[in-house]
Symmetry: C2
Subunit: 478 residues, 2 copies
């Protein structure tokens, strides 16, 4: 049967998760390779997921008073160099433009790996008085990071993202806004993408180049590796001073303002795939699925079936769902496998007998559950089942997260737990970078975050035995 | 008064149109300069216009069955070179990436000046059978063209645009779709941007590098210069053959498909400014204005005024208008000038006496007309007045266009008419590029288009006196 044949095309996720992931990206037609290594083509189905995410996030940003702008994609080298830590972090990954037409440029330009320097250069012009503050800007764009290795969605040399950049009069306001935007991301991941998150602060070693503090949301993938899903950075007045941004405060003094930046990217699509996918392919959260409901007519050549299917489609579209009717001449088996591969949350089956009985069958993608409903209750049942899919996906992911957080009291124990189970290993930590390096070298884990929800597990650092400062989550990360 | 002071800040458009244009771009806060010559920052107010345009155009594209995708921003030089005419046209304007991190690249990459080559490279992979056709893709992105001179919105080294790329089984279908997309652009310009257009075909000299035919819409600016507002290209099977794209047709033969591409850019914002603006600043078509209605309370410190103004705002927002209430402590004169500068289509004034009388005053931006209305009819009156602004703007622009189309029968006459009046000079033309060059050298005009609406003005070419083929519109263009 067509169905079986189709499913055979992807690797078994338990046997080879990496191959399974790549297979899903290709077979669900999210992505294609381009002629440059590490640069991918976002195909219509993949891009549509991003558009749906953009739509929801952009509305959330606007609720926070954020306005969209567009900055140039090129950064003069001299501008990139103004903030010392920042350039050190990003220069090794920059793609450099050295020629314009047939002429060598006097100064080389890098394609933005991130745009703090460009925003600061602009803020210097537009921030003059306390009346100009706060400034809350965002841009949707692509950035380039010339990395050696690449994987679809997780590590692109070019990827799509949004980067927010704000300027505030006080440190308190900037710090609060940094956390506020982390919460926007966390709520988006949990409520829209059905991906439970752990919120926390990055260690100094892992924070953004040039930031005073980086906050992150960390997610747990199906293979029990960690994925950093979004970050929000508090800059203090470091960038402002480096770029000579100053405003006249209410006491008529020239002072430096405080800044933040925050971003999420198409990497989130990688997160969705690895959180929710299964051996039949993609499983998409209804809220961002390009097709929420697919209607498959059974025995569609029989009288009345296509008319009935079209009527279902009209009703569901009218009710605001994103619906597709597949009346192609592919077999039912092929179609079921196809839309399972594409992760369509809800399938509606409708054949001659269903029509006779005034009913149709709803099939949930996440757990395969079939529900026979009366056609009279179509819209309400579709809504309820989509909600059930969304809730069921979150619950599964939350269970996976909760079952893969382990407590360790020594580096050896941490290492053994990671090797046996993956997941987040939580330990107490002295705060010394040397212990982070030791954890990396001996147990292969990086610090994922210092969770906001702290617990006192013991008095001493799991690595060195000195007095502990914080509880840290460690993990193997994408 | 604040108002007068504010208006003095921009140049008189009749005295110095170029300076007036730049002043409007800056003072209406559409744009700011960046640290790279020819690359501009789109500020929130300018970007919001683009977002509104995107929203409407994207919906139109989707009605045409077009899907959005995202292609990489870099093109390997070898890929750019596959279509000979195409590379000749674009290579001189390419910005070249030659370094990744600290390493010299083996092959240099240009930042996309347009993406035909990238799309063709992808089409080669995804187009195999007649069942795969048509493919109708679009992407929203920025492109780079390393030009010597630049002007806000009209000529950026980097600009935002959309580029559509389609593949069809037959030449007829591709040709029809090329014209269909030109019509989408024309309708958008006329119905949304209130900019009347002339539709026609470009001469071979002016067509897109690599196209068989380029169709364009040409608009008339306030200073009687022409602006090419959008183009749609028919490629025949030239690109398909150069990139070895082929599909298996119904007779099981491998054949090359036919392609199109089409685009509009932020240049349209330049067109809006130069079509509708006046000596008080910007005048925005209501359909794309970020703020459609601004509410200015009069004597706002008096009891009840701010409450009434807020109630108006709530009602208008509820009715779906984009509304702003300015209750800042700036003077009424300053506020009026500010929102005139920003081109807000409708101003609502509301003071203590108005409230007493259950009325408010609507002021149209395009003609300054004031209308006193009863508060009971607020929503309907606002809708009617915005429609009146939209219609009035179109009518003015149409009058300007119609009054600046002149007929000439010789090159000398064409030159004299252009010098005296500007505008489009229409003449008969033999079809020879030599005459186009002569018109450029002697009269300073390029062929704008061969209008679809042809007229037979005379039997002979205005330049050389040989038998005429077509009527051409000539003009001085941005």
């Amino acid at each position: 049967m067509a169905k079986e044949k189709r499913v055979e095309q992807i690797a078994d996720m338990e046997a080879d998760f990496t191959q399974w992931f790549t297979d899903v990206c290709r077979k669900a037609q999210l992505i294609d390779y381009s002629s440059i290594k590490g640069m991918y083509i976002l195909r219509p189905y993949g891009y549509a997921i991003w558009e749906n995410m953009q739509h929801i996030l952009d509305a959330e940003f606007k609720k926070q008073g954020v306005e969209n702008v567009y900055m140039p994609m090129l950064i003069p080298e001299s501008l990139l160099q103004k903030e010392k830590d920042h350039v050190e972090g990003f220069a090794p990954e920059c793609a450099w433009v050295t020629m314009g037409g047939s002429e060598e440029l006097e100064e080389r330009y890098c394609i933005r790996p991130t745009s703090e320097t460009l925003f600061c250069d602009h803020f210097k012009n537009i921030v003059q008085s306390h009346r100009d503050l706060p400034v809350k800007y965002n841009q949707w764009c692509s950035v380039l990071r010339w990395e050696k290795t690449s994987r679809p969605f997780l590590r692109h040399r070019e990827f799509l993202w949004q980067e927010g950049h704000t300027v505030h009069a006080t440190a308190e306001e900037a710090e609060a806004f940094t956390q506020q935007m982390l919460n926007v991301y966390a709520d988006f991941c949990e409520n829209v993408l059905a991906m439970p998150v752990t919120r926390g602060q990055k260690t100094d070693k892992e924070k953004f180049n040039g930031a005073e503090a980086t906050y992150a949301i960390e997610c747990m993938m199906h293979d029990h590796k960690a994925l950093q899903a979004g970050t929000s950075h508090y800059f203090g007045d470091g960038f402002a001073k480096a770029f000579e941004i100053a405003y006249t405060d209410k006491n008529n003094q020239r002072v430096a303002p405080f800044e933040t930046s925050w971003g999420v990217s198409t990497r989130l699509i990688g997160g969705i795939i690895m959180t929710h996918g299964d051996n039949n392919g993609l499983v998409l959260p209804p809220m961002i699925a390009p097709i929420q409901i697919v209607i498959l007519p059974i025995a569609q050549h029989k009288p009345g079936v296509l008319e009935a299917a079209n009527a279902l489609k009209a009703r569901l579209s009218e009710a605001g769902f994103r619906v597709k009717l597949d009346d192609s001449d592919n077999s039912m088996g092929w179609k079921c496998a196809e839309y399972e591969m594409k992760g369509v949350p809800l399938r509606v089956e409708c054949g001659p007998r269903d029509i006779e009985n005034g009913q149709c069958v709803l099939v949930r993608r996440n757990d395969g559950e079939k529900i026979v409903i009366s056609l009279a209750e179509l819209e309400q049942a579709a809504q309820a089942q989509l909600q059930s899919v969304q809730d069921g996906m979150y619950a599964s992911a939350k269970k996976n997260l909760d079952e893969h957080i382990f407590t360790a009291y020594s580096l050896e124990e941490a290492k053994a737990l990671q090797e046996a189970n993956g997941g987040f290993i939580r330990t107490m930590w002295c705060g010394d970078e040397a212990c982070e390096i030791q954890m990396k070298e001996q147990a292969g884990m990086t610090s994922r975050c210092i969770p906001f929800a702290q617990e006192h597990l013991s008095d001493t650092c799991a690595c060195c035995g000195r007095p502990a400062q914080k509880m840290v989550y460690w993990g193997v990360a994408y």
